[in-house]
Symmetry: D3
Subunit: 242 residues, 6 copies
Amino acid sequence: MSIHRLHKRAAQALRPVSFELDWLRYAEGSVLVTQGETKVMCAVSIEDDVPGFLKDKGQGWLTAEYGMLPQATHTRTKRESQSIKPSGRTQEIQRLIGRSLRAVTDLHALGSRTVRIDCDVLQADGGTRCASITGAWLALSLAMSRLCQQGELTANPLRDHVAAVSVGIVEGAPLLDLDYSEDSNCETDMNVVMTGSGGFVEIQGTAEGAAFSRQELDTLLALAQQGITQLMDAQKRVLAKQ
Amino acid sequence: MSIHRLHKRAAQALRPVSFELDWLRYAEGSVLVTQGETKVMCAVSIEDDVPGFLKDKGQGWLTAEYGMLPQATHTRTKRESQSIKPSGRTQEIQRLIGRSLRAVTDLHALGSRTVRIDCDVLQADGGTRCASITGAWLALSLAMSRLCQQGELTANPLRDHVAAVSVGIVEGAPLLDLDYSEDSNCETDMNVVMTGSGGFVEIQGTAEGAAFSRQELDTLLALAQQGITQLMDAQKRVLAKQ
Amino acid sequence: MSIHRLHKRAAQALRPVSFELDWLRYAEGSVLVTQGETKVMCAVSIEDDVPGFLKDKGQGWLTAEYGMLPQATHTRTKRESQSIKPSGRTQEIQRLIGRSLRAVTDLHALGSRTVRIDCDVLQADGGTRCASITGAWLALSLAMSRLCQQGELTANPLRDHVAAVSVGIVEGAPLLDLDYSEDSNCETDMNVVMTGSGGFVEIQGTAEGAAFSRQELDTLLALAQQGITQLMDAQKRVLAKQ
Amino acid sequence: MSIHRLHKRAAQALRPVSFELDWLRYAEGSVLVTQGETKVMCAVSIEDDVPGFLKDKGQGWLTAEYGMLPQATHTRTKRESQSIKPSGRTQEIQRLIGRSLRAVTDLHALGSRTVRIDCDVLQADGGTRCASITGAWLALSLAMSRLCQQGELTANPLRDHVAAVSVGIVEGAPLLDLDYSEDSNCETDMNVVMTGSGGFVEIQGTAEGAAFSRQELDTLLALAQQGITQLMDAQKRVLAKQ
Amino acid sequence: MSIHRLHKRAAQALRPVSFELDWLRYAEGSVLVTQGETKVMCAVSIEDDVPGFLKDKGQGWLTAEYGMLPQATHTRTKRESQSIKPSGRTQEIQRLIGRSLRAVTDLHALGSRTVRIDCDVLQADGGTRCASITGAWLALSLAMSRLCQQGELTANPLRDHVAAVSVGIVEGAPLLDLDYSEDSNCETDMNVVMTGSGGFVEIQGTAEGAAFSRQELDTLLALAQQGITQLMDAQKRVLAKQ
Amino acid sequence: MSIHRLHKRAAQALRPVSFELDWLRYAEGSVLVTQGETKVMCAVSIEDDVPGFLKDKGQGWLTAEYGMLPQATHTRTKRESQSIKPSGRTQEIQRLIGRSLRAVTDLHALGSRTVRIDCDVLQADGGTRCASITGAWLALSLAMSRLCQQGELTANPLRDHVAAVSVGIVEGAPLLDLDYSEDSNCETDMNVVMTGSGGFVEIQGTAEGAAFSRQELDTLLALAQQGITQLMDAQKRVLAKQ
């Protein structure tokens, strides 16, 4: 249990987190999330249209895309635009982001609109999918408030906070908010997405090596819950400062 | 809590499960899994080679592919071979199957070989990814035993059982082994993969509508554990009969 | 002329053929064809719509797709879903199946419907395209009868039987219904598709090595005609048993 | 039986055929075939290498590609380069051309070389695949002679002539060498490829509407044989003039 | 300045240029351009429709495609239809051809029509993109005149000539109309497109090795202007002869 | 000639330009370029390998890629990773960036290394390809200096500055450094790339509407030269501050 983390970080401590709101000029809402060395740009655009399967259903849609700049990683990653398809990993992540945000969005209150959230990783040091969710919520919140202020929406479709964090077991020790080197060496890796009211939206736990026990699961879930509470406090603080 | 399931099935009951071993002539091991109306063909082939990233590492590899026949579903599904890429869902599932089986396989004991497991859904009535994992384990077990009998392997690389089941909350009731209509209407959906020694390999829980509470999570995990125990008993019975 | 075939089969004998009707639950009609070690699943679905080029023409359409499970073959075949396009061979075969069935279907009597026939090879030991045609006819027959019974069609669009068989010259000997090892070694390979009234729908003869003479052609055509007559008898018997 | 053909052509007459040899400057051999209004450019290139599956087998390979310029057809055709794959039709035709030429080529005498034959249709008025085969033979003949003259080959790998023609039944009348309007309206369509010694390399007969009888088949084969003899005479004449 | 060009061509001389009008039967206008050993087929088709972005805008559209036959080049080029996408070079060229022709076409006078110009290189010896533009103008001119004669257009949308030529600096000497071997060795390469009234439509100058000076630029532009004037004279002569 | 530009900018004035060096942690050199509202991230990575066509040639290679984040533009742009190919525009731009930087890089001095420059547009308000070139030069300069300091290179392969700017004619007025709204409305658009010693690397001038005269060309080139001089001064200043 005496694992040494970078910068003497405690096992149950988050990395420093900051949010720069409206970093982009043309998006309806945007946030540059920094969590340790991980940097993700989250941006929201809104279209006055819905996909075919929702035509005339009286509701909107919300979808997410995830990308990584080639030079975001320790070793340059091949640009996906030059292969035929987004990798399985990319698709998994963007589906996860979309589901997480839809879980706290009232699609009927959104009306016949499509919200597109782009999460682009400028620098990757672990936890990019979780930082994307936490940041995407902020960008969505900015965009929804604007639609309300402009009188385009009568009620804010965003019903609750959402944030996410990774937890894992590294050399037998349960750790909060893994960085890349920890993530590469963990025995168990878990991403947890929760709402402001304390419900789970998504739990994805994977044993990379040995299977994990029920007791380890309980420890990891408690750690995640604590980290997510802190992340939501940070979301509230930055919105309050506006 | 008084939900009515098809064929008067109890909330905590599995659907009838059966395995037909060596259904295919040319695979190293194959199983036709039937779980209720879901039918999946699992087949194992072995190549005397490893992918590039494992060359000269003294270990083997195991990978899985998942497919669905166009007419397996209530409404015919477009054949993936005619689109450009496997869908995100297909990729997610085949990565899950591969990770689950690798969790109980000693890749060093396998030597410089690649195991390919194909899980093809002939008929789909919910739970196809879990049935794929449970069946793939049996097909892998048949193939590994054969390699040992033929003297190609000195130790069986398969270290433990693996099986999987879906659980979920439908109209407030926790249910084991969802069929398609239950899966389409559930509030929370969870796939659980466990080893014979009771460890978790993978937990994927998703709130489709409202978030789920910690207590609901505990109930679902207990239900999954009970179902997986029964599935492993069935795996053992069919192997014993050989 | 003293070639030795597997199981002491005579040069002019078909392999054992059987049909399991309605093997799939959700298709409008389905048949599992077994011809020797070759197993093909044929399934029919019907959509209440026609492709763009037939809009408002007062007729329907019938099309076929053909696939092969990766583990169907002696050595595992790469899954087509992961390459960019169906191979030329796959496209040739599915066009052939479609043409053959359209030759005995009254597309006007079908109304504004599209019939999709999927032929998926579960196990391949030669003659898969011919078994697909013979089986597809049965699956189509089941589906068309059902539409008539349900009062959706007033006249059955299926005007005649269709069946197909391969013939070839192996080591100088003309053989009926080649299996995989015969097919791999034949000098001439011919697929013949005929109707119940004795007309030819398709003849595809290819010299793999030396060109074939007019006399050899005549012998092969007679052999094919005899085999097709037997296959149609089998089609009739299995339908009569229903 | 009194069908009227364009330019008062007789039912059993070919369209005017001409060959311009070495029309292209950089190919090893090239021919511009004109058959009625159909114009095909056939060109041969030779590489001092063989595909992977023939490495160290002591033989060469011959393969063909087929294309159609967008403005070759009555109505402009979409350029294939901008879709993802060659159509099924294109693949069928280029496989046919390749098989036909390989049937008269001694691949061992060719040595470790790959012959690539490109058949590009500049103008299409029916019979393009047959004209491609007839012209490709000439281009191949020019290229092989050159290799012999240059002392690179000791024996000419080309063992015999190959030519091809289409025949069909239009309004009940058997016709030789269909043009586009005849081909669009025929009941039965047959492409026949033969060698100089009178053997069949390929027969592809398709009933577009009603099935065809054995007697019709015999008539069509005789017609094809007569046309192919004339085409080979033309091949010989143009080579003799060189 | 004493560079030796093929056939004793002067530094400021064009290669011999000729145009065969209406070489293709089904296109609305077509020209086979020969410039030295470079041969390009330019063909125009017209559709009575416009792309989506121009619907109901009361104007037409003009677009171009460019291709190269595999055997057009010194060493055979891979057919683009078998790769996934047109190369960057192909796309650059077809965008250039389209822009150049649109610069002299009144799209409003064209009405709701789409002009498609295909430029297919049959033989490539340098300058194919410029020959494509010069020839495309002639093919377009033929097609537009026909539409006027048929009374479909009241005013000819073609307002001026367009022609193009390459210039470059090879071993320090400024040359007009580079052939392939000159183009491969030039220090600076420039394509210039001009109108009949002497305006520039496009200048694309690239230093392949050392950067070029302002004085070199002036020399090259003068050379290009002189060559383009000659090409337009040739365009006028061949139209006058009709 | 009295055109009104945003923020009262003069016709011959650049937008405010700034460079943030080493904005990314893992790249060998990186620069965030801001030019008005346009923001481009330029990053350099270096591999100890060369592409196949340069193996054993004793020289290195330099290549560039260009991308645009979906939310960089006024209206969200579809992510290229989800289409099959980079658009023609993207390919044109990345080829231009690569050529421009290669023009001032001694590839032999680079040794057997490949330099990859990624230019990713975070926000687009016109001039993104020119800002990419100007910024890429700085990122390359940082990376090359580091290789020299680390003793991996004995001589700096970077021989000169490179910078680029757009010029154009809007409502008859020649303007320097067009923003998006000016670029959308210009009659002539020209991108100019120059070296520190005053040579031209690339001139791409396009008449969007009417052709442009020789005199207009001269005016635009002078304007570009002045702007590029200022950009190089800025490059020098920011490097000097390090």
